[in-house]
Amino acid sequence: MLLRSIFQARFKPELGYFSKVIPLAESFEADYPEWAKTENDDVQMVNYDRFEQLILSHRSLSLSREGIDAAPTETSISEVLERAISGLGIPRFTRLGFRQLIATPVEMNFESLTKVMRTKLYVESPVLNAAMPKTTSDLLYRIDAYEGNEKFHITIAPIAKNEIPGKLVNVRKSVHVDPKRRREIIEEAEKGYPEVAILFDIDVYWENEEIRIERATEFVSTSVKSIRRISTGVIDYLLKTSVKP
């Protein structure tokens, strides 16, 4: 279950942004009818039907989706990127990032999941066990990693249903949600949350002063695949129930 997706492209700030951003925002108005302008001259635009928010800033553009179906398609990201690149005249990016929060339901209670994750994600040593308190009640597995030019912030943790609203998906305060339908949407969303789940917070990014704009689409495609590979691979490992002879 996808709780949140965020795509962000950063670029070098230029003064020309301020004259270009309003015409660009107007061109997005059909897709993102609700809008607000912040003190920093960022333009925030929202599509309540898709729970999607677009933020145009002098140094970045961000597209995020949160709530029931939090998966912006690669096509929608590519379309936004294409229009923003031509609208703002962005020559190259300095950072491209794609982050997803995924909750994978499991058939066990929270204590059991914590024990499984403690056993399988951390070093098992009688010496360490003797040194540490006997029972682990909660944990967080957090690493930063890289593979080629692809970098990662990866967080894996057990979560209970009551931890999702407010902490992970803040529908009550979310700008993605139509204020008039907020209560109805909250109830619908909360019904679908799993009792206990493994949370993945995976942030994939490229960071380089000279990322060519043509490579943005490639980044989106590879980062989606990387997130899927990591989450499914870890799930297979954590929940494996067979002995290989």
């Binding site: 965020i6 962000q8 961000s62 995020s64 990032g97 982050r99 929060l101 499991v106 058939e107 066990m108 209670n109 204590e111 059991s112 999941l113 024990k115 499984v116 056993t119 399988k120 098992e124 040593s125 009688p126 010496v127 066990n129 003797a130 040194a131 909660d138 944990l139 967080l140 930063d144 912030h153 967080t155 943790a157 057990p158 979560i159 931890e163 902490k167 992970l168 949370l199 917070d201 942030d203 990014y205 954590l238 929940l239 494996k240 129930t241 067979s242 002995v243 290989k244 002879p245």
Partner: protein
């Protein structure tokens, strides 16, 4: 996930500003005693472990869930294989299954390495690994009925040192028992069969006490 952990989730994509905590050495002269004082012969656990050096009384069999070839014919043993309240954990059945497969896989893997080094000095290293895995399994999954198999196997390695005398074939036969039964649905009969097959695979020397006709007559 704890509340402090969840605080790291913000709508801001820029999470690369993460900084490790500023840990300070508090100057305590810390003497790690536990690291050197773990006794292999009697590992830490909150429940009884079979002592195969003497024939058990019937009451002991009921309390400990002890199983061996001798007791296999007695129905009370199968009854005792059900998890008792003292040993039951809060583990969900699915979690118990995951942990069982995790540890049995490790046991199977180490047994393959032991088979390759059977009756050589190199076997000692893998014997240590195997004892450690068994220790961890018994500690972590005490409520799992399949732990009985590990408990039966454990003293053969620790107090009887059979790891030094078993041949590669014997290691592989033991490995096959763990691999075969590790994948099956756990029930008292299955555990019973696994233990019997384990004893067959390990050979008579592993039983830990001699069965002389004279003693047998008085038992």
């Amino acid at each position: 996930m704890s509340s402090s952990a969840t605080e790291t989730f913000s709508t801001d994509l820029n999470v690369d500003s993460y900084e490790p905590r500023n840990w300070k050495w508090i100057g305590v002269d810390y003497h790690v005693t536990g690291a050197t004082e773990i006794e292999r012969e009697e590992p830490r656990r909150a429940y009884a472990r079979p002592n195969l050096s003497k024939a058990p009384e019937e009451s002991e069999v009921k309390q400990s869930g002890l199983t061996s070839a001798r007791e296999a014919t007695e129905p009370v043993v199968a009854e005792e294989l059900k998890p008792n309240p003292v040993r039951s954990s809060t583990l969900s059945p699915h979690a118990a299954k995951i942990l069982r497969h995790h540890y049995v896989q490790k046991i199977v893997d180490v047994l393959a390495l032991l088979a390759a080094k059977a009756r050589t000095p190199g076997a000692s290293r893998y014997a240590c690994d195997l004892i450690e895995v068994l220790d961890l399994y018994i500690e972590a999954a005490g409520g799992d009925p399949f732990v009985e198999v590990a408990l039966t196997f454990y003293p053969w390695l620790t107090s009887q040192n059979h790891w030094a005398t078993w041949s590669a074939d014997e290691f592989m036969a033991i490995r096959k028992v763990f691999a075969d039964f590790g994948n099956r649905t756990v029930n008292p009969n299955m555990v019973e069969k696994a233990i019997l097959q384990l004893e067959d695979a390990a050979g008579e020397s592993a039983l830990g006490f001699e069965i002389s006709p004279k003693e047998d007559a008085t038992y």
